[in-house]
């Protein structure tokens, strides 16, 4: 059921509980295990526009390090619920651990199939993101907590140190607002040692001798992360090189005085075209965000780094004086293309 009262009937699968969330769509044709475990999707009911989901099942979860998955984007399913078009059936892949529906069931995440996801998508496109509920019950109530404190829910509450297999001699601080594990894997793969700290932890005590800070992606409205914005300001004052990704990009923008706003229906997919304004080069990017930086509010000292070729929205910031970069898209891919993963080498 959608917040405007429309009731969509379908066939339930996975968990049996009533799921409340913001109904959003993604246009990616692969990568459903990655999307479902992406913490940025916390609090959302995810509609897949691609009609066949579950074909290759879900890989057997593998741990790479403490609280770091080798083949998923976090340690659990993050979405509130899943909406698909067809039966989720007969998966086949040599790396499969579980069928898709069993996986959802094992974590009690509700799914609904036999939904016309294309017309639902068109509705969201027309009306903007809606709240919705997936439920097997006739009677239910909206859970007010569904969309509250999302970052706090997905950020790991402890500090973890990660060592790369082959060090490049550099150390980074990672502010975890709900980091996709691919970001961590990218950094480690490039030889950085990484200290992962919770979203609201004061980073200053850890800045001694570090080569840069990465502020991760995460769910919800950037304006709900006041503590992080304050922390970023402190870091920038210390002239520490900084890279913001997705929510991290929006938080940087807020920290330097720009403004953010809610997009009508967000960018969620693996095919978003972005152009590097400074070079003219275009990239296909993986995206998952509902808010954007208002390009008109970009302060002096910063320029627009990337722009979305479809709708002209801001996709990144770069500082003229300091080593500060941010991207609205996900350079790590997973799911999706990693055309822009060179960005991780900037630090």
């Amino acid at each position: 059921m959608l917040e405007d009262g429309e009731v969509i009937e379908g066939v339930g699968f996975g968990g049996q509980r009533t799921a409340c969330g913001e109904v959003v769509f993604t246009t990616g044709m692969t990568g459903y295990p990655e999307s479902l475990t992406d913490p940025s999707f916390a609090g959302q009911i995810l509609v897949f526009t691609y009609p066949l989901i579950g074909n290759y099942g879900v890989p057997k979860p593998q741990l790479l390090d403490h609280h770091l998955m080798a083949n998923l984007e976090s340690e659990r399913i993050q979405v509130a619920g899943v909406v698909v078009s067809s039966d989720v059936e007969s998966p086949s892949h040599y790396q499969m651990g579980k069928p898709f529906s069993d996986w959802l069931e094992s974590q009690n995440i509700s799914g609904i199939s036999h939904v016309d996801t294309r017309s639902l998508t068109q509705k969201i496109r027309g009306k903007g993101t809606l709240r919705g509920v997936i439920t097997p019950a006739k009677q239910f109530s909206w859970d007010e907590r569904a969309l509250q404190n999302l970052v706090a829910k997905v950020s790991l509450p402890q500090i973890v140190d990660y060592k790369p297999k082959r060090s490049n001699g550099k150390r980074l601080l990672l502010i975890d607002c709900g980091v996709k594990h691919a970001i961590l894997r990218e950094l480690l793969h490039r030889g950085y040692a990484v200290k992962r700290i919770p979203w609201d932890t004061d980073p200053l005590p850890f800045t001694h001798g570090i080569d840069g800070v990465v502020c991760s992606n995460g769910p919800g409205d950037p304006k709900d992360c006041g503590a992080t914005v304050v922390n970023i300001k402190k870091l920038l004052n210390k002239k520490i090189p900084f890279l913001g990704i997705c929510l991290g990009h929006q938080l940087l923008a807020l920290a330097v005085g720009a403004d953010t706003y809610k997009l009508p229906y967000g960018h969620r997919g693996l095919n978003q075209p972005c152009q590097d304004v400074t070079t003219g080069r275009a990239y296909v990017t993986s995206q998952n965000h509902g808010y954007a930086v208002n390009r008109k509010t970009i302060p002096k000292g910063f320029t627009e780094w990337f722009v979305n070729l479809n709708d002209g929205t801001n996709e990144g910031l770069v500082s003229a004086k300091q080593k500060i970069w941010s991207t609205q898209f996900h350079p790590e891919g997973n799911p999706g293309p990693s055309d822009t993963n060179w960005i991780f080498s900037l630090l």
Binding site: P51, S92, L309, N310
Partner: protein, 1068 residues
């Protein structure tokens, strides 16, 4: 850079079909938009790209270095585009480059640089370049002889894969499992090429393709990926292909995507390329199999599958535009630099016509044999695959076919392991007969995901059969899985109509969805539509205010249905649009221009079945034009008429009158128009009696289809009796039609358009070959070169009477035989024929435009009477026998050509020679010819030809009968033995050494097609013909065309052939 030369791909042939009309046409549009002058060389007269109003100049000439060089010298173009005309254009470009023609004339190659083209065409260079950047290609070596190949394989081991460079669609490729197999394939391959690649055998790996684009600023995207349902080992043109990939996870998808981009960057391609991968199903290892640095069949498919106009964008990139500055023409608002997101599944299935050939190997493998393809769009694989199977137009209603179901499990298992053209139905039957998904996966190498989906269809099939009642749920589920009403009706022992009514009553109706390239993220301004049951709401809801006309396209290309019907369909929609009405196009062939979403206002990429056409009518409520898409739409006419649906043009009743042999024959009798004697028999005895009274030879048309053959000629009573006895069918139920076969008769085609029974325009084309050769395989000459005026007048008079009596209101085609100066009507079709583009372009009168104006009933441009043109245009069939291993290349009453070319000339000889060369015929470089002129008529008909060859200084080699015959006529020749004679040199020695310039091997009887049915033996004639094909020796199997060729050689040297563009022939 103002003037650009564009090379087309010539005739449709196996491996190079209509997709290049699509790509060339889009390229021309893109170039014209940018204000360039376009010079097109393409002898394929049936294409849209060679139509008026597209290229500035069209040369109907062979796409070979010699001819194109002369075009370049004449036109002085600034640049050339090589990647839009398939392998033909690319090879020609390589030839021009190596000869230094391009440099000498300062012609710049646009798009991908020549060095890259050469590297991608040479597998060894290609592998080296990719290995340099750390990419994996299949391990292998290039060998230049059979001996060298065997030596390598003996150390590398078997099985081993063979491929040839510089070839379209993998001629001479295959898997050798033993030394013997290897030797056989190698010797075949070396007949066509100088090098063969031996590679590690990747059989059983998944085959995945990516379509990649790159601009001159190094921006790259992949437009689409596609997964072959069949594993590596089955040519992608022979495989069912699914887009996007279904069984790849995100890692695999994006790893291969990244490699695709790395590859295109390394190679420096500008424009589009296709990359084929093998992906190991259990380890995720990959190999790059192939890169096509040009538009290909796959790119046409990707273009239709995604809505991304690949060829159009590639042409813009070749001019130096960049992807970010171009727009997505589907949405109109977003960027062309993006990767389409699909919210549907696309399934392509090849269409084979192997039944049409004698002796052809029915299995499928690494060589291409299919002649066309269909593409189905739906929201589940199940629905898409079942739709696709129906789209083939071969009578299948779904993946479960009763014929296959009747086979034993042993037979099914055998066929699973040795794939043939009926693979899908064998799998369907195997699942229905309880062979497990796992076992089938093992036997076929097909991913279990696909097989499980098919299994679901089988379950539903069984449920439909067994269930006592048909509840809404089951009906809806069956429809979601793509079952047709007929199929359900059959399983429920009821009629299609009653299932349709029931469905409507229960509200089980298909929805219309739009293809927008963005999965709904942005609105589309185009109407590229498909229908599905896996949906709740339609995107497109037609308004009743618009005045629309629905045009049905041709469906898949097949023997007998080719690009000419696409030309007809496109010209029809264009005319309807010009008349201020909206157009709805329905077609399911991804190789066409009619399925470009910008040619019509609404494009339904859909089935041409009665059910689906009625569904579309229910929505669009507009009249149909059925007469321009060939057989499939034409056959729907009576059914649609019976449903009371408005059809524009000739009334369905008169179509029936023209097609019903009894009614039509009576009509001819009333009019006093001659027809060959005929009769219909219901028993063997009656047949014999009837044949006697008609007189042998007779042409038999069984009313049932026997292994695909509809017609055959029988010359003696004994043969008729033994043939009839060999049939285990009840002739009483399936009557036999027999017609007097007029020997040595000239055949003519009359094409025309009539309005309310009055002929508005007509053209008579004369066949070079005598009657008995299918009109689609005949060489046609316009205006006729030897038809006497008196006969022509007679033909026109007869046609006028027929047309008037029937009250024809639209296009028509009447075929005549002329025997002893008297025309006999042999067939009459009230639809556009295959020769419509040929006559329209030759006479510069668009027959389809006029026919469409007639259909719409207003403002017919009455054509100006023209005097007989001062030039001649000759249309020559293109055969693909080289690819159809084992097929007898003899011309018969059943059609076997896959395409056609035409050329203009000052006379029939000049035009014929150009057209023949345009089919790829190598002009004899040696003055030796091999003659085996068969029995009876053949020798006499070619006597003058033999004499002419002597005059030309040819050495004649002849088999005994021919040798003696020539001797009697004082024409010296050298004797060559037949196999049983035991003398050497025999013809095998002669042909194997490739010492002959060309062969003329006429059938022993003119009815050689009865060979296998009646005599079951393999004749020397067959081996001679087949060997000539396999050895790449030009061959003629018909006396008249062979003679015309020899005559033409006597009159013209290649250098005499004029280089003139189309307009120069109309005297502008």
């Amino acid at each position: 850079m103002k003037k650009i030369l564009l090379l087309g791909s010539g005739a449709l042939k196996i491996g190079e079909a209509g997709e290049f009309d699509y790509s060339g046409t889009q390229a021309i549009k893109a170039l014209k938009e940018e204000g360039r002058d376009v010079i097109l060389v393409n002898p394929n007269i049936a294409t849209i790209q060679t139509s008026e109003g597209l290229a500035d100049r069209v040369y109907f000439l062979p796409v070979t270095p010699d001819f194109v060089e002369r075009v370049i010298t004449k036109e002085r173009p600034d640049a050339i585009l090589l990647s839009f005309g398939g392998q033909t254009a690319l090879n020609c470009g390589i030839g021009l480059y190596t000869k230094g023609v391009l440099k000498r004339n300062n012609v710049e190659i646009l798009g991908t640089p020549m060095a890259t083209i050469i590297d991608t065409e040479d597998r060894e260079l290609f592998a080296k370049r990719l290995q340099r950047i750390g990419l994996a290609t299949a391990k292998g070596v290039t060998v230049k002889s059979v001996k060298e190949g065997v030596a390598y394989a003996e150390t590398f081991g078997y099985p081993i894969m063979l491929r040839t460079g510089f070839a379209l669609g993998g001629t001479g490729s295959g898997i050798a499992r033993s030394r013997r197999e290897l030797e056989a394939i190698l010797s075949n391959a070396f007949a066509a090429t100088s090098q063969v690649i031996l590679e590690e055998c990747l059989y059983g790996w998944k085959e995945v393709e990516y379509e990649v684009m790159r601009d001159c600023r190094d921006n790259c995207i992949t437009v689409c990926n596609m997964e072959n349902f069949d594993p590596v080992g089955i040519h992608t043109g022979e495989s069912v292909v699914v887009a996007p990939s279904q069984t790849l996870n995100d890692d695999e998808y994006y790893q291969l995507r990244q490699i695709s981009i790395d590859t295109i960057r390394e190679l420096g391609i500008v424009g589009e390329c296709n990359i084929q991968f093998a992906l190991h199903p259990k380890t995720g290892q990959y190999r790059i199999i192939e890169v096509n640095a040009r538009l290909s069949r796959s790119s046409a498919l990707a273009s239709k599958a995604t809505g991304y106009p690949l060829a159009y964008i590639a042409a813009k990139l070749a001019l130096g535009k960049t992807l970010p500055e171009l727009r997505n023409s589907v949405t109109g608002s977003t960027s062309a630099f993006f990767e389409p997101a699909l919210d549907y599944v696309v399934v392509k299935i090849p269409r084979w016509d192997l039944e049409k050939y004698e002796g052809v190997d029915p299995t499928i493998g690494s060589e291409m044999k299919s002649v066309g393809e269909v593409m189905a769009i739906a929201r589940t694989f199940k629905e898409a695959v079942q739709k696709a199977v129906r789209m083939l137009g071969q009578g299948y209603e779904g993946v479960i076919d009763e014929d296959a179901l009747r086979q034993s499990r042993i037979m099914l298992r055998k066929r699973l392991a040795t794939p043939d053209a009926k693979r899908m139905f064998v799998i369907g039957a195997a699942l229905a007969r309880g062979i497990t998904v796992d076992e089938i996966a093992k036997l076929t190498g097909i991913d279990p995901w696909y097989l499980s989906s098919l299994e679901r269809i089988v379950f539903t099939y069984q449920k439909l059969k067994k269930s006592k009642i048909l509840p809404r749920e089951l009906l809806a589920e069956a429809k979601r899985q793509g079952f047709s009403d007929i199929q359900i009706a059959h399983l429920r022992s009821t009629t299609e109509d009653s299932i349709r009514s029931l469905r409507k009553k229960l509200g089980v109706k298909p929805c219309v969805k739009r293809i927008d390239t963005m999965a709904g993220e942005f609105p589309a301004k185009t109407n590229y539509l498909y229908m599905t049951y896996a949906a709740g709401q339609s995107d497109h809801l037609p308004t009743s205010k618009e005045k629309k006309v629905i045009v049905l396209g041709s469906g898949p290309y097949a023997i007998g249905t080719s690009v000419e019907f696409d030309w007809c369909a496109v010209n029809t929609v264009t005319t309807v649009r010009d008349q201020g009405k909206k157009t709805v196009m329905v077609n399911c062939n991804p190789e066409t221009v009619s399925t470009d979403y910008d040619y019509s206002d609404y494009l339904y990429f859909e089935e041409l079945s009665l059910e689906r056409v009625l569904d579309i009518y229910d929505l669009e409520k507009s009249p149909f034009i059925l007469s321009v898409g060939g057989q499939i739409p034409n056959n729907l006419a009576p059914k649609l008429a019976a449903c009371g649906i408005p059809i524009l043009g000739s009334d369905a009743k008169i179509i029936e009158q023209a097609e019903n042999r009894h009614i039509f024959s009576k009509l001819l009798d009333t009019l006093g128009v001659a027809q060959p004697a005929w009769g219909e028999s219901h028993s063997i005895r009656q047949s014999v009696r009837m044949a006697r009274s008609i007189g042998f030879p007779i042409l038999l048309r069984p009313s049932f289809v026997l292994s695909g053959k509809a017609m055959l000629v029988i010359e003696k009573e004994e043969l008729l009796v033994s043939y009839l006895k060999s049939l285990d069918l009840d002739i009483g139920k399936h009557p036999l039609v027999m017609t007097r076969f007029l020997q040595g008769a000239m055949e003519c085609d009359m094409d025309g358009v009539a309005k309310e029974g009055r002929i508005l325009i007509w053209a008579i084309s004369e066949h070079v070959e005598h009657g008995g050769v299918h009109s689609g395989d005949a060489t046609m000459v316009l205006p006729p070169h030897s038809l006497p005026d008196s006969v022509r007048e007679n033909i026109v008079k007869n046609a006028g009477a027929i047309v008037a009596t029937l009250g024809v209101n639209g296009p028509f085609n009447i075929q005549f035989l002329v025997s002893d100066g008297k025309p006999y009507v042999i067939e009459c079709n009230l639809r556009a024929s295959r020769s419509f583009p040929f006559v329209s372009k030759t006479l510069r009168q668009n027959f389809i435009r006029i026919a469409t104006q007639v259909a719409l009933g207003n403002g017919v441009t009455v054509p100006v009477k023209k005097t007989k043109p001062s030039y001649v245009c000759v249309k020559v069939p293109q055969f693909s026998f080289k690819r159809l291993r084992g097929a007898d290349p003899v011309l018969r009453v059943e059609m076997s050509s896959t395409g056609e070319v035409a050329a203009f000339g000052v006379d029939v000889h000049e035009a014929y020679l150009k057209a023949l060369l345009a089919t790829g015929l190598r002009f004899p470089d040696k003055k030796t010819v091999f003659l085996s002129l068969g029995g009876g008529g053949g020798k006499l008909s070619f006597l003058a030809g033999a004499a002419c060859l002597r005059r030309l200084g040819f050495t004649l080699f002849a088999t005994r009968g021919t040798y003696e015959f020539l001797n009697e006529h004082n024409i010296p020749s050298r004797l060559v033995g037949k196999l049983h004679e035991g003398i050497h040199p025999n013809f095998v020695d002669l042909l194997k050494d490739k010492t002959v310039g060309f062969s003329v091997v006429l059938p022993e009887r003119f009815t050689d097609n009865t060979r296998t049915e009646v005599t079951k033996g393999i004749s020397d004639g067959y081996i001679m013909r087949r060997m000539s094909i396999d050895m790449g020796i030009p061959i003629f199997t018909n006396a008249q065309s062979a003679y015309l060729f020899v005559e033409s050689m006597e009159r013209y040297q290649i250098s005499d052939l004029e280089i003139k563009h189309w307009s120069e022939y109309k005297g502008e």
